[in-house]
Amino acid sequence: MKCDYACGTAEHGTSRRQFLGGLATGVGALTLGGSDSWIPVAAAEQLKQSQKRILTFFLHGGVSQLESWDPKPNTIWGGPFRSIATSVPDIRISELLPFTAQQMHHLALVRGINTKNSGHGPGQIQMTTGRNPMGAEQPHLGAVAAKALTPPSFSLPGHILIKGGGNSGGPAAYLGPRFAAVTLEDGKAPQHSQLPETVSGEAETRRQEFRRSANDRFAGRRRTADTDAYTLSFDQARDLMARRDVFDASKEPAREQERYGQSEFGQHCLLARRLLEEGVPFVQVNHSNYDTHYENFDYHLEQLGEFDRPFATLVNDLHERGLLADTLIVVMSEMGRTPRINPRYGRDHWGTAWSVCLGGAKVARGAVVGKTSSDGMSVVDREVDHGHLFHTYLQAVGVDTKQEFVIGGRKFPIADPAKGPIAELLA
């Protein structure tokens, strides 16, 4: 049924196709303010075939760049760990990541990040929104990705957070709650996604028929974008309940579970793979915690020891299953850690010179952009910040970050207009 909105607005803003700059020329002219359902069938098929996805790992607390992507062994603040060779000649990473080192040819490093911030909250906002935390709330990368990449009639949430410690959240801000994160607490299916035992299947069917009847009657006279959103959310919830197994990593074969290991993070990586294979456009996996003011080296040994193998397994699986070309992977934190080792064997907060690892999609494999000084205290080549990274992430999956969202008649730049992508990272 065609929607004649009572309020006369086109709440949906820019269509998904419009953001996908790489596909725009292939599917003809774009329509501002159109509904996703207007995408021609041929274009929808094309989109499905090249479904883009983003997978982020958020290492909460601030992983140490010196114990991960930018090791400096036997320097004044290098700490006790050594560096190891990787599958890319001339790239060495910390010995704490031996499995990841074997996947380096699928990955790239940004070693010259200066976010000019050393706080958890501001850093998290910077790294997930590409903006500094001032003024109105900005949408999380996951919300932007969900808005831009979710296929038409997709029945699962487009923005999923697999939370193993760390913060919840993933605000959609002006994009609307449809694109906010659906959180899988401890990797479990969304809350209330199972029919209560006291409600029989027959009763549920009758309830839904009554709801539809009432909705249709109301929509015939007072249909609005809001009522459509309500209807959609009910339909999505029912679809989600019907596909609840998608969120259950234990449904994977025992051999797969063994490959990922029985740690919480390992199972969360397996769940992430399952969700990506179902086409979920944005999945974030939290890993906690790296805020190691005390005994930094022992805790990085523990945490990265847990991170390394499942992460590397997932990177390789995405490659072998043909998904890596369309899936951006990012390993980020809210900041790095001080090169200076404090008296308690800790490293403190440091946003002045640190690193991010990324790969897949259009990211140039095996690239290293940026360089820090020999003592790790400053960026000495190709300094970038969260704004540049945000552009890069989205452009790596084909989103034209120079576009704007149009919400309620207002224009919102997708990414910080003052910044641009790290061009040399985009193949």
């Binding site: 036997n74 006790p80 805020d291 005390y294 040994l301 008296p343 308690r344």
Partner: protein, 357 residues
């Protein structure tokens, strides 16, 4: 006291005074309440470990530049021991003092001539996959025990470096190891504060026990914290003490309190948890049994605090604080001196006696 050490082979500087205060005799008895600093010897990098050799001639320290440094107790003369490729936090000696053993975070165990003018490794073996966290030498000097992040305890022939036992069973990093004074067995303790008692004759595990007060899983940060950061037997072998932390409220932020668990060796049960009267945010990095019958612990976290505990009292009967942050502690074989390795790139030599005029 001269505050600066003399560098090896630097004959241009006058020798610094010896650490012991002049006029004191060997009959002087330790008086913990009178503890004071008699020397501060600096190095150019933060320190990670310290030990006196059995003859009391030297104090060896590990440093963050992968070196071990030897300070001569007579004059503070400094001699480097170059050989490790990472930090060293494990130092031991043959009972006659002739040979020094060092274990590094590079997984290597090195042999040195203790008093060599220009020490070079006499032997090097790849002992562990990952860090060697601690080593111990058997009372008869024939065996060396090492432990590390590969969750293994290994026993070596001190004379030739050959492997005697590889002891398996720990399920987390092994933090410390100690020989029982009777020389018949060995105890090790891991990250989860699980102790394993090993028979040296056949390498079999005799029993396990734990000290839950020294371990916590921090739900918020999903991190394990605990284990014996220091380990020592009483002189008669009836007590085993493990130093570490307790009452952890924020593992990664170091919001915790120092403590030492005193364990009845025969039963393997906790006898007493030694703590401080005023809560001290630190870790007992070093622990020793004093021949006069009490424990000395060194808590490092907010300062370097020497704590003196009688075996039957939970709280200390004496303490001595230094403003720097301690990372290791050693008791001199004379029982009258102690060394504390500091994060602030220096080792402080303390005397456990009254000051002399």
């Amino acid at each position: 006291m001269n505050e600066e050490p003399q560098k090896a082979n630097d004959d241009k500087k006058p020798p610094a005074p010896a650490a012991p205060e002049s006029g004191e005799t060997a009959e002087v008895k330790a008086d913990p309440g009178k503890t004071h600093v008699v020397a501060t010897w600096k190095y150019e990098r933060p320190l990670t470990a310290c030990r006196f050799d059995p003859l009391g001639r030297f104090v060896f320290v590990g440093a963050e530049d992968y070196t071990v440094q030897r300070f001569d107790m007579k004059d503070g003369k400094l001699t480097p021991l170059l050989g490790h490729e990472s930090w060293c936090r494990a130092i031991g000696f043959s009972p006659d003092g002739k040979t020094t053993f060092t274990g590094g975070y590079d997984g290597r165990l090195l042999w040195w001539q203790t008093d060599a003018d220009s020490p070079t490794p006499l032997r090097a073996i790849a002992a562990h996959n990952g860090w060697i966290r601690a080593l111990a030498v058997s009372p008869d000097g024939q065996l060396i025990a090492t432990c590390g992040n590969d969750q293994l305890v290994k026993v070596w022939n001190a004379a030739d470096g050959s492997a005697i036992h590889t002891l398996t069973g720990h399920e987390s990093h092994v933090y410390n190891v100690a020989f029982h004074p009777d020389g018949q067995s060995l105890v090790s303790c891991d990250h989860r504060a699980i102790f394993r008692h090993w028979n040296l004759s056949d390498g079999k595990e005799l029993r396990t026990f734990s000290a839950p007060a020294l371990y916590k899983y921090d739900d918020k940060f999903r991190a394990h914290i605990g284990g014996a950061r220091s380990l020592a037997f009483s002189g008669d072998g009836k007590l085993l003490a493990a130093g570490g932390t307790t009452n952890v409220t924020n593992a990664l932020g170091g919001i915790l309190e120092c403590a030492a668990a005193s364990i009845d060796w025969e039963s393997g049960k906790l006898k007493l948890l030694h703590v401080t009267k005023e809560k001290n945010r630190g870790t007992i990095w070093g622990l020793a049994w004093h021949p006069d019958g009490y424990w000395i612990g060194m808590s490092g976290g907010r300062n370097a605090l020497l704590v003196f505990w009688k075996p039957d009292q939970a709280e200390e009967f004496a303490k001595f604080a230094m403003p720097e942050i301690g990372r290791d502690f050693a008791l001199h074989p004379d029982g009258l001196q102690a060394a504390v390795a500091m994060a602030e790139s220096q080792v402080r030599i303390c005397r456990l006696t009254a000051k002399t005029a």
